[in-house]
């Protein structure tokens, strides 16, 4: 199981992976220990720096897509607002739209064909 597996295009050894993981773990632990050790836990030093503002709860501190696209949707609100009204959530409305649009397409095809 831990032996060398040779294939036509190379080899695979679990032991090499174990050694790599051990070396990387040692490196990570070393670098982590080089960091600031004197910071005080469970104080403000433990919290993120948000320009001096208090940290909100995790639920309230996320940035939603509406924040990112605010300017975009604001600029195109005349286009988006009617579209939003179409989306009633009622499947009968959506089926009605399909029937109406299909009927219009068939009429156009029938007239021009």
């Amino acid at each position: 199981m831990l032996g060398l597996l040779e294939t036509g295009s190379g080899f695979w050894s679990a032991l090499i992976w174990v050694v790599i993981i051990l070396v990387l773990s040692a490196l990570i632990i070393y670098l982590r220990n080089k960091g600031e050790a004197s910071y005080k836990k469970s104080t403000e030093q433990d919290k993120p720096f948000i320009s001096g503002n208090p940290e909100l709860s995790k639920e309230n501190s996320h940035i939603s897509a509406s924040h990112i696209y605010w300017g975009f949707t604001e600029a195109l609100k005349d286009y988006y607002n009617p579209l939003v009204k179409f989306h009633t959530g009622n499947i009968n409305d959506y089926s009605g739209w399909i029937i109406v649009v299909t009927a219009i397409v068939l009429i156009i095809v029938g007239v021009s064909g």
């Binding site: 004197s38 403000e44 030093q45």
Partner: protein
């Protein structure tokens, strides 16, 4: 200050976080002037950083408005020890012309402990550089004290 003593204090780079607590920007411009080629503070390893978590020194300008008092306290608490606080300008030192304003919680030393005062309206870059050096000396003494209390591994 002789050369040997100066070299002792220049062993480490000094990272500074600049905090505006309601300043008119006069002092802030003079701080930036200290970084321009004329004064070139960075040749001593002194540089401004974007987070108090990376800073050794807080450079505070402005008289501390009501809105900023809480933020100043929080930024001070987020700065790792040992730390020094420099107040730049008359407003931060005493309130200046705004001393009796309804909207002030300051001056700065009423909110957080201050180590060095650099008065002036605005303070000259030479004075700010001198203030930073004074803070540096104080900081090194604090570091020595911390080494005695908790030996560095």
């Amino acid at each position: 200050m002789d050369k040997v003593k100066l070299n002792k204090y220049f062993e480490r780079s000094l990272w500074v976080f600049h905090l505006n607590t309601g300043s008119c920007n006069g002092c802030d411009i003079e701080i930036v002037a200290g970084l321009t080629p004329r004064y070139d503070l960075e040749r001593f390893g002194i540089k401004l950083v974007g987070s108090p978590k990376h800073a050794d020194v807080l450079l505070v300008t402005g008289p501390v408005t009501s809105k900023m008092a809480d933020r100043v306290r929080r930024v001070y608490e987020q700065t790792p020890d040992p730390k020094a606080v420099i107040v730049v300008g008359t407003c931060g030192t005493s309130g200046g012309v705004f001393y009796n304003s309804y909207n002030l919680k300051g001056p700065v030393d009423q909110i957080i402990p201050v180590d060095v005062y650099v008065p002036g309206c605005p303070a000259r870059p030479e004075a700010i550089i001198n203030g930073v050096l004074q803070a540096w000396i104080k900081l090194e003494k604090l570091r020595e004290k911390m080494k005695v209390i908790t030996p560095v591994k």
